[in-house]
């Protein structure tokens, strides 16, 4: 019997009606002659509510306790989906991370999956039951509950599909799939029928909130096709896979943008070995997530080091950098209200002219480029946040993303 792995996000499970709707969808998949394993996130805003609750008790909640607290959200939604399916006469059992045996390392709040036991889940499937699995959580060697970090339920689903050797993994969410650009910014944006792992990864990392990048990476590693689709209707979504006809496709596949960007620049820093480490080690210790880093050295032998961070990390990063400047010399400059706009597509770097066209069309529309970074399949410009809609629409039109492949 074919094995189907599905994952439903929190917005698809926000209330009793949606839970029953999801239960019906799972039952139909089973009734069509499949074995079904379903990974669920916590209902709606449950995780955020639990985080707020913890912070109402103490400013710095212990991480081990926090993980156990947060894991209750997925346990609740898993049991409720199972109850709804039982009520429809569908044999089902819910399993938590520890019950199933999703083994992780000991890094609370950002654990990595080490191994997944398949005995219990395999036994339940063999007994004709659907299995509802709590996403986002695992168990470490001590038997303590760990969580995989934000978006971890996507990772749980892909990892389970790999461990159970399922032919593919279906990720149900509140969007229809991957798009050529954010449809709220570009009305002409088109849903992508398929996309390669690398392209999806770049789009996800550059701000397209379709799927968690970690899960895409894992899918790529195991060559597991992943379909992202809506839980609210039955239209096909976007298939993320290795991609066979990449060479003959259009090069630019999508435009991503991310408006959560702030930049800190250290000017007049002495250019000596170890200086970058001296700056970024304390930022890492403070769990500041640094994105784009640019370093230049001027004629006087002084370095200028810039980096971007998300806005929630901005104040902390600025404070650390200013302290550093007092120790190692130099001054600190900063800018909030920046954004990143990226064009993503396999082969972008090897095909000539894309970067030039991108820079040219932004200049034509008076969009000033602050910083540029590139990867093999992506060109990113840091620009003013206010210029994002204009920039994204212009790039979408320039690279003809509104036309069918």
């Amino acid at each position: 019997m074919p094995l189907v792995i599905q994952k439903y996000g929190g917005s698809s499970l926000a209330d009793a009606d949606r839970i029953r709707h999801v239960a019906g969808r799972i039952k139909r998949t089973r009734d069509a002659g499949n074995q079904v394993v379903v990974v669920v996130s916590a209902m709606g805003d449950t995780t955020d509510d639990l985080i707020k609750l913890a912070h109402s008790v103490t400013d710095e909640p212990d991480k081990r306790e926090m993980d156990l607290l947060l894991s209750t959200g997925e346990t609740q939604s898993a049991t409720l989906v199972a109850m709804a399916m039982q009520a429809m006469g569908c044999p089902v059992v819910s399993l938590t991370g520890p019950q199933l045996g999703i083994r992780t390392d000991a890094a609370y709040s950002r654990a990595r999956i080490v191994d997944i036991e398949t005995d219990r889940v395999g036994g339940e499937l063999a007994n004709g039951r659907c299995v509802i699995v709590t996403g986002f959580q695992g168990v470490n060697q001590q038997g303590d509950v760990t969580t995989l970090g934000r978006g971890g339920s996507d990772t749980s689903a892909v990892a389970l599909a790999c461990a159970l050797r399922a032919p593919r993994c279906e990720i149900y969410t509140d969007v229809d799939g991957g798009f050529t650009a954010d449809p709220r910014v570009v009305p002409q944006a088109r849903q992508l029928k398929e996309i390669s792992y690398e392209e999806m990864l770049e789009l996800a990392q550059q701000g397209a909130r379709v799927m968690h990048p970690r899960a895409v990476e894992l899918g790529e590693l195991y060559s597991l096709p992943i379909e992202v689709r809506s839980s609210f209707h039955d239209r096909p979504g976007t298939l993320i896979h290795a991609g066979e006809s990449m060479e003959i496709r259009k090069h630019v596949r999508g435009i991503a943008h991310d408006t959560d960007v702030a930049k800190i620049t250290m000017l007049g820093v002495p250019d000596r070995p170890g200086i970058a480490h001296a700056i970024f080690a304390p930022l890492a210790d403070a769990s500041v997530s640094v994105d784009v880093i640019v370093q230049t050295v001027n004629a006087q032998g002084n370095a200028e080091i810039s980096f971007t961070v998300g806005r929630t990390d901005f104040n902390r990063a600025l404070q650390i950098t200013e302290e550093l400047a007092r120790t190692i010399g130099g001054t600190v400059d900063s800018r909030r209200n920046l954004a990143k706009v990226s064009i993503v597509g396999t082969g972008l770097q090897s095909a000539p002219g894309y970067a030039a066209r991108m820079f040219g069309v932004l200049a034509e529309h008076n969009v000033n480029i602050d910083t540029i970074t590139t990867s093999d399949i992506r060109i990113t410009c840091v620009i003013d946040e206010a210029a994002v809609p204009e920039a994204v629409r212009t790039l979408h039109a320039t690279f003809e993303l509104d036309r069918e492949d």
Copy 2:
């Protein structure tokens, strides 16, 4: 180092402030040189809210899933108490029923504790940590979460104290302890300094909501002294223990009342062997909890069988009884709005005159007695609900319960 077991109920953990208050209390106990294991209930109305949530998904939630769902309430409160203690610099760890190893039978929603592993909790104590344990929950042989039924956290605490050979168990709640009568009905009611297991058991079963009867029974079985006290102040509570000077104490120790009583009577039932079984077996199958049963046979050889039930079970019980009457003959009569008033005290039955005095004083105050039942240490009258305040106050004064022992 002395070992102290404490249990905090849901009202003592209703919000972040109370959780911090409880955390401070636990820390003081530890700072006084004790090892501390704490059992917690779910915060405030969490359990009721989760039950409502399940019923919004389906009318008849699967019991296995329901137990796993409800267990999240205690997991949440345990982690929050642990976080608050960590924030105070107190080494602590929370453990769920499965993590600690509270092994139960497989009876979901009303599981019985079979055994408690002491390795993990002992190890944590040896490492200098306080341990916060989720009450109400355990794990069955399959590794699935079970719950002990309402009030089960009291049972968890007493069972842990027995397993860890603690010298006593402290139950913190929102009342000051056991009273000679409900202080809301009798302003002169006095807090009991101590009470025997049997007396507490009778008081608890007859409506005094101080502590769960199962926990008292378990305490008696292991001769574990239990102190019931308030978490809101530091005054001593009520010590439940074997009682050494029972013979010389006052016989009546307390007045209990329970206004959740309805009565069903089957009249003109043929008096033949097996008739009681024919009536009560289907009630048990429907999980109707029957309390007082009275059977009489009249001169015509017809039996009259009465029994009382709680009001939530009344409609179901009436329906079953009326169906039965159509099969086996007889008619059904019923009364809602009844109540039980009990006097409780060791030796009541063996000492002459208590029953007569009780009936006499109720008659003097025009309280009509519907049914009478007795145990070794209790005399209970079923009366009209409306007569309860008068009856309780009168009995409290008659047996001089407002005077010190």
